[in-house]
Symmetry: C2
Subunit: 337 residues, 2 copies
């Protein structure tokens, strides 16, 4: 049984291993600095499909399939699948995974969904609710741009604070403890509103939530920033990352030495025109599954925090002048049992 | 610890009580046959707000507030809140609940969200992950119509199979066993695609998922239709209800004597022009919290199944010619411990 601590943090007691993980990405992500980390890189944005939405669903299907294959699982081995994405009504997930006939828990955490799904899957396993659970999410530049901003062909000009939605998907399969990476604890995010109203400045909207969840996780588990080799945020980009470091600094803590942001890792901002960095559910998901987890498995990282971040807005509420709240869920992952 | 059974069904072992519940609805729902069951009935669709989206958020806030008050809880007593809704990116929930500063697990199950959130909240409690959890969802006729079909002022003609999105919200607060209603078991839904492509025939799209989850729940728990006083589906309406009974009949089971549909209960189809019945996340949520749970508490119902049903489509994928998959999550609720 999971041992409840407090204020959104749950420490796992039986323990959970990430048994398999995979990342499937688009061409631009494959051309980026983490290109060699990914299990599948598509040749184009279409993935052989007629629509961007179908392409995103296919990417999610690929991530799940690769995770199954790498872990020598059949899809029927999976007891529960936790998934969600950015598309209206989460159709990236429901159409991507409908063929598998598996018990499906739909989640919505915007770009925090990889941490949310991994947290829920791990808590299920730790509580004895199943033998194997999968956590999966995705995003696609073209489906997200059309939905949240403009169709690609419109050629809208992007502001300097704008981020580039990654065409990417990641999937983790978790089960009882066998080998690293181990899931040690999770902190469920709260909705934090910084008053940001610019839909082209997601980093600023999410930084407060990241600060709240990371500092709450540290406080609730009695740990310090220095206990971790790295603290990964989801997709704050350059603007949000600067704000996060500033928020910790104001509380007399220095996170800058261990802080890394998946949105800054997935693209080369010198060579790739992504402005403030990458974003999207698939950004942190693919960096987690392609880059982070292999390094926790090998022991290169002993202890890390994975704090994916989401902006909980829709085009409708932004057009209505609402501010954009953020959320961040934290998963503590360790090489040691 | 929850005892895992199989194929998506989890039987609760420590046991969970629904300690408080409340329903907040719009005027038309208040004028319907269940009008006396609801805790709050708004005078108009606006709830004093400038936009339909804000009105929906307010309804969800009211349901949560009434559930807190009726159970003598403060919002800080709640360890985790599970919520979602139909609006793009679930903004009904995130804007309705952002003021409470609570650990928030965002869900997306379309109109099945009340069963999904109640299932997850109950599993958390049963596994010792918190003392009190809340499950809440909502829908609003005007925000849903504009998003999924036409703006209200357009005056689009509705087909006979169309359903009327309820302006309603429901909230349950669950905790360790004290008194009925008790949550006994849950079955997590699978994505079931019947090939239905008509976005104005949600009942037909969801009936297969309801059949799959209810029959799986019965089979996995070793129970029969006759073990239940009533089996409530979410919002199949008349078309979907007929299909569900037919599907059971084809498998030599008669569900018709105990089957009730929240979408057929909330409105009077003779007097209210709702075509095939009510729908929306808030439909089954308000019927559960306003009508069903009080009757399980009193013992009028000894054992019931609550099988909320959702259609996992978006306007985008329907316009692209995709069929509409459904999902149904089942919660078994009993007067006896």
């Amino acid at each position: 049984m999971s041992q409840f601590i407090k204020d959104g943090t749950i420490k796992l007691t039986n323990g959970v291993s990430v048994l398999s993980y995979a990342a499937a990405v688009g061409k631009m992500e494959g051309d980026g600095p983490l290109g060699e980390c990914f299990d599948y890189i598509s040749k184009g944005a279409e993935l052989g499909e007629e629509t961007w939405e179908k392409a995103e669903s296919k990417l999610q299907q690929y991530a799940f399939d690769f995770a199954l294959r790498k872990g020598h699982f059949l899809s029927d081995d999976i007891d529960f699948i936790f998934a969600g994405d950015l598309l209206n009504q989460c159709t990236g997930s429901t159409y991507g995974l409908r063929q598998y006939n598996l018990p499906f828990v739909g989640l919505y955490g915007a770009c925090s969904t990889m941490a949310e799904s991994l947290a829920m899957a791990s808590l299920f396993i730790d509580s004895g609710m199943g033998e194997y659970c999968a956590a999966v999410t995705s995003s696609h530049f073209c489906s997200a741009e059309r939905q949240f901003r403009f169709p690609i062909t419109y050629g809208g000009v992007r502001t300097p604070t704008a981020q580039w939605t990654a065409t990417a998907s990641g999937c983790c399969i978790v089960g009882a403890v066998t080998e690293p990476p181990y899931i040690k604890a999770v902190t469920i995010g709260k909705i934090v509103d910084m008053g940001e109203k610019d839909a082209n400045n997601m980093g600023a909207a999410m930084a407060g939530a990241a600060y709240d969840s990371i500092s709450r996780h540290l406080s609730n588990t009695g740990k310090n920033v220095s206990d971790f080799d790295a603290i990964f945020t989801g997709d704050l980009g350059q603007v949000g990352s600067d704000i996060l470091c500033e928020l910790f600094s104001r509380h007399n803590e220095d996170i800058s030495k261990v802080h890394k942001d998946c949105g800054l890792m997935i693209f080369d901002r010198e060579k790739q025109d992504v402005h403030a960095g990458g974003s999207g559910c698939g950004c942190s998901a693919s960096v987690l599954c392609g880059y982070i987890l292999p390094r926790v498995r090998s022991g290169e990282y002993k202890n890390i925090l994975f704090a994916a971040t989401g902006a909980l807005m829709s085009t409708t509420v932004v057009q209505q002048g609402e501010s954009i709240p953020g959320i961040s869920h934290v998963v503590e992952i360790s090489h040691r049992r």
